[in-house]
């Protein structure tokens, strides 16, 4: 069982981010040591039209593209609405806050502390990953999508 007491924060910009802006923000956050897990959250941008008369036809969208964060490539499937982070301890939050203060200049943002990410496997996770699931990866990817989380390694 994972330690459930790791603090979690959520960066909520007042505008939804374009992939380039999200890439710059995430690259700045990779410089912070003490971030355990990051989740990018926002409304989905499907590859095909999900419903309506044009259902199934391709859905080109300029915001659904791959971004480079640290040494890893992340294929965005959502418009970045918020970034959820789990950190080692409280001082890391202040470091994130100071980065965000400098980053969001055109529009404001909010940094909220709370519980925004799964810390223990749910029934769906159990059904998908079984009893020995790696709890550090729980809640980072949709278990039904068959996609795994991206691991970002940074130079220390």
């Amino acid at each position: 069982m994972m330690n459930a007491s790791f603090p979690q924060v959520r960066i909520v910009p007042f505008r939804m981010l374009k992939p380039d802006t999200a890439e710059r923000l995430l690259n700045m956050l990779t410089g912070v040591s003490g971030i355990r897990r990051v989740m990018i959250h926002g409304p989905g941008l499907p590859k095909t039209v999900p419903y309506g008369p044009a259902r199934g036809s391709p859905n080109p969208h300029s915001d659904r593209k791959a971004i480079q964060v640290g040494d890893a490539e992340i294929a965005l499937r959502v418009q970045v609405g918020e970034v959820i982070l789990e950190v080692e301890d409280a001082p890391v939050i202040e470091e994130i806050r100071s980065i965000c203060d400098g980053f969001f200049t055109g529009f404001s943002y909010r940094l909220q502390e709370g519980r925004f990410m799964k810390t223990a496997p749910t029934l769906v996770d159990y059904a998908k990953y079984g009893p020995d699931a790696d709890t550090t990866l729980i809640g980072l990817a949709d278990p039904r999508k068959g996609e795994s989380p991206v691991i970002i390694r940074t130079k220390r």
Binding site: P13, F14, R15, M16, L17, K18, T21, P43, G44, L45, P46, V49, P50, Y51, G52, P53, A54, S57, N59, P60, H61, S62, D63, Q79, G81, G106, F107
Partner: protein, 254 residues
Amino acid sequence: MAYKPQYGPGTSIVAENRRKQMNPNQKLEKVRSVTDEDIVLILGHRAPGSAYPSAHPPLAEQQEPNCPMRKLVKPTEGAKAGDRVRYIQFADSMFNAPSQPYQRTYTEMYRFRGIDPGTLSGRQIVECRERDLEKYSKELIETEMFDPALVGIRGATVHGHSLRLAEDGMMFDMLQRNVLGEDGIVKYVKNQIGEPLDRAVGVGKPMDEKWLKAHTTIYHSLVGTAYRDDAEYVEYVQRIHSLRTKYGFMPKEE
């Protein structure tokens, strides 16, 4: 004394705009111009230049029953020609979009004939005969009831009206039907149901914040006029709420 509609309560600019849109005697300001062909492309119901497909023969060619109602009500152009019933649907952002679903329905009911509007929380659809639809759509898009960035013409997959705007000020659209070009003009690259268009259709530049605040019909305490600031409107809604609640108990006067 003849009945004179008041259209709605309120002393704020939002209330004023609501009344202005609803009142058919007020001419709506024309803000942009979009060609008939462009409207047909965005609607996506028929190819531009093609004949209107019909649902029944023109009224002049078919035997009409002897009905007093039919003598009283003159058919619209579309009904006269026997056009199919087609639709246009709008999604309006809550961030000061110039019109809103309920507002649209009220406005259309006052201004247009032969329509069947459907009102939902985040979108509003209006159905009518194809010929009439194109005429009404032109009016809805060219006038101050439309903003290229904050109003979306979306037949399906409408999600976005209550979301934060994108960095460039556009309302979220999963299908990205309209894009803000380098030249600052919003162009539709897909028709309203999300099928790609052969050519992009320009609908003009997004209006600036000041214009939107002065022309919106939604209350918004963060980006526009707060609802609580309009005491008359609040009083009216409280009165309606109180009366309908009491009526539920069937009050009897002693």
